[in-house]
């Protein structure tokens, strides 16, 4: 496992999933309902990202910008330590706001963790299953982009992908676009206008079952529980990148 890729998945695939929480979870909605607070993460050797929490919503953006709180992590390993609860960021700005960071913000991340690390008891709740599927799918799609640019095997598969956009979606939503070409894979929200290949799940339940490993991926394809359609060399190589996701997000 490549440490920088792991941190990239945490910063650019997991952290953005916080955006989904207010729609999925009552407590998260309440925690996000106050006055907006912007937190910028600066990670040495990786990059920057911002979260804006407030007004009932959470918004993620890649890159730096104005922020009330600015946190510094010297390396990708330091970011991973923070995510694992074994390390703390260095506050560069917003020392007076640390209570918000250790309070509501930490609670939001704990709520998200709860949705992304299911237990059999929680999976008995249909609403939880939907939330888990939604968050897992979003995390997996954006993680694929990080893995394709960072992990050695991921880069190999990305280098074999011809140019084109892949739609990864669930009937009725959500939908994502993965743009492949020139050895890169870039993820974004929303279906591409002209997909060259599609991976479509009939339901969030089907997507969640696959991502949780409850369904064998090959069998799911054979049974039509995930539809594959379009330029197969894109899908074939994408499936190998998807196979690397558990290495980074388990």
């Amino acid at each position: 496992m490549d440490q920088r890729t792991k941190a990239g998945c945490e910063l650019f695939a997991l952290l953005p999933c916080l955006e989904e929480l207010p729609a999925l979870d009552k407590e998260a909605r309440e925690l996000a309902s106050g006055r907006p607070v912007r937190v910028e993460f600066r990670v040495g050797g990786l990059g920057r990202a911002r979260l804006e929490v407030g007004g009932g919503a959470i918004r993620f953006s890649r890159g730096g910008g104005p922020a009330e709180i600015r946190l510094w992590l010297p390396s990708p390993a330091a970011l991973s330590a923070m995510f694992a609860g074994r390390g703390s960021p260095i506050p560069l700005k917003g020392l007076t706001r640390l209570g918000w960071l250790t309070g509501p913000f930490t609670r939001l991340t704990k709520i998200m963790e709860g949705y992304l690390k299911p237990s059999p008891e929680r999976l008995a709740d249909p609403a939880y299953r939907v939330a888990n599927a939604r968050l897992s799918l979003r995390a997996a799609v954006f993680a694929m982009a990080e893995i394709a640019s960072g992990d050695p095997e991921g880069r190999l598969h990305a280098s074999r992908m011809p140019k084109g956009e892949i739609e990864v979606s669930v009937a009725g939503g959500p939908a994502f676009a993965l743009a492949a070409g020139e050895g890169r894979l870039e993820a974004r929200l929303g279906a591409p206008p002209a997909a060259r290949a599609r991976m479509r799940f009939p339901s969030l339940e089907a997507a969640g079952a696959l991502l949780r490993g409850e369904t064998d991926a090959h069998l799911a394809i054979a049974e039509g529980k995930v539809e594959l359609w379009g330029f197969v060399p894109l899908l074939d190589n994408l499936s190998h990148v998807l196979g690397l996701v558990p290495r980074y997000l388990s």
Binding site: D216, H218, L219, A222, E223, G224, G230, V232, D236
Partner: protein, 427 residues
């Protein structure tokens, strides 16, 4: 025409899922990328005869995959099966091999122009791996040059780096060149002077998902001369093309002589035997190898191969399949044009590859093929197809009727509409 449904295939797949990885693994399985959408295809067969197979729901298909190549004379050919069954009554997998081994080797040497000897295995991949080992043993070198996108079986050395179970160490001695790029091949030989044991290639370029390419003018003559000059073995993987271009070997078809030729698929019309044929100079190296398998001397498949090769020679089967393939593909192109489509056909007519032009995502082609399959014409999406000598003009006419309806459906509904119709079980 009636459109098919496959409830019994789906039921059996559910049972298969409990005991087979992925339900039905390998290239015959739905995850190979050749069945899209999977709902349009049968998964299991119940019986086969001649040019047809029937699935578990009793649907009949004119089979243009021919079991991915082996079915060249027709399923259940009486001469081939009769020979195999007669041999089964005498003995099959016995501690001492039968005389069929020698008879088949003699027949291969007599049939295949380049062959001075023959060695028998089970699968095509057994012969490609053996070819590599013979080349290494004969030259004392390690490297093999393959063509990018070529397929030579599933041994790790023949796969791609990064695939599950394949390591970079497995591929440490594999070099790649584009098919037809003589300058690139010459450069590799110069850069790796004295290191290359073998150049292995199919006789023409027939990968999946892309147009097939015949050898460019002069390619094989130059490659032959290069390998000779550099002391490398020229190995032709004739597993897929073998007997379909020329019963005397595809190297002869393209006007050169290989050092090693790999045969499988059509060799015994579906009975499981493969063969590596070689020139005299490589006999000592082949004799020295430790290379064997429990079933490799089974007599019944060899009896089948003897009957099959004799019949292929009598029929001049390559000519028969080429003629039928040409008639069919010209007819398919004409039906496409009637609905405003252009069908692009490439490769050799007896085992052609096809796709729709202007279809960047391949979705239109997948939809059209799916509609053909639902009407009893078994194509797969992105693999080359095959003709068997059992096919008749009536089969071609049936196929063209189904293809025409499929083009009409595609024109009317578009790819997404066809997909929805299939998912909803509509005609």
């Amino acid at each position: 025409m009636k459109t098919y449904e496959y409830p019994r295939s789906r039921e059996l797949l559910a049972r298969a899922a409990r005991v087979l990885p992925g339900g039905l693994p390998g290239h015959l399985g739905p995850v190979s990328g050749c069945y899209m959408p999977v709902e349009a295809y049968p998964i299991f067969s119940s019986r086969a005869q001649g040019a047809y197979f029937w699935d578990l729901d009793g649907n009949r298909f004119v089979d243009y995959m021919c079991a991915y190549g082996p079915n060249i004379l027709g399923y259940g050919d009486p001469d081939v099966d009769g020979a195999a069954l007669a041999q089964l009554r005498e003995g099959n997998c016995v501690s001492a091999p039968s005389a069929r081994t020698v008879e088949l080797a003699e027949l291969m040497v007599d049939t295949v122009d380049m062959a001075d000897w023959a060695f028998f295995c089970k699968n095509g991949g057994d012969t490609t791996t053996m070819a590599l080992m013979v080349a290494r043993a004969a030259t004392g070198r390690k490297k093999v040059v393959l063509t990018r996108g070529g397929y030579h079986g599933v041994a790790p050395w023949a796969q791609k780096e990064g695939l599950p179970g394949v390591t970079s160490e497995d591929l440490a001695n594999v070099l790649y060149v584009d098919f037809g790029d003589y300058e690139g091949l010459e450069r590799l030989f110069a850069e790796r002077k004295g290191e290359i044991a073998c150049f292995m290639s199919t006789p023409y370029y027939h990968p999946v998902f892309v147009d097939n390419r015949l050898p460019p003018e002069g390619w094989w003559a130059k490659v032959r001369e290069l390998c000779t000059r550099e002391g490398a073995v020229l190995a032709i993987d004739d597993v897929r093309c073998g007997f379909r271009l020329d019963v005397r070997g595809s190297d002869r078809h393209y006007g050169f002589k290989a050092d090693l030729m790999c045969f499988c698929k059509a060799l015994a019309n579906g009975w499981n035997v493969s063969a590596l044929c070689g020139i005299e100079a490589l006999r000592p190296a082949a004799s020295d190898l430790m290379y064997t398998g429990s079933y490799w001397n089974s007599a019944a498949p060899m009896a089948a191969a003897i009957a099959c090769v004799r019949k292929m020679r009598e029929l001049d089967v390559a000519k028969v399949c080429t003629r039928l393939g040409t008639e069919l593909t010209e007819g398919l192109k004409a039906e496409a044009r009637k609905q405003g489509f252009e069908l692009v056909v490439s490769g050799e007519p007896s085992m052609w590859y096809m796709r729709l032009a202007g279809d960047d995502s391949l979705e239109a082609h997948q939809a059209w093929v799916a509609e053909c399959v639902r009407r009893g014409v078994f194509f797969t999406n992105h693999h080359n197809l095959f003709i068997s000598a059992a096919m008749t003009r009536a089969d071609v006419d049936f196929t063209l009727e189904a293809a025409a309806e499929a083009f009409v459906s595609l024109r009317k509904l578009g790819p997404e509409g066809v997909r929805r119709a299939i998912a909803e079980g509509r005609a």
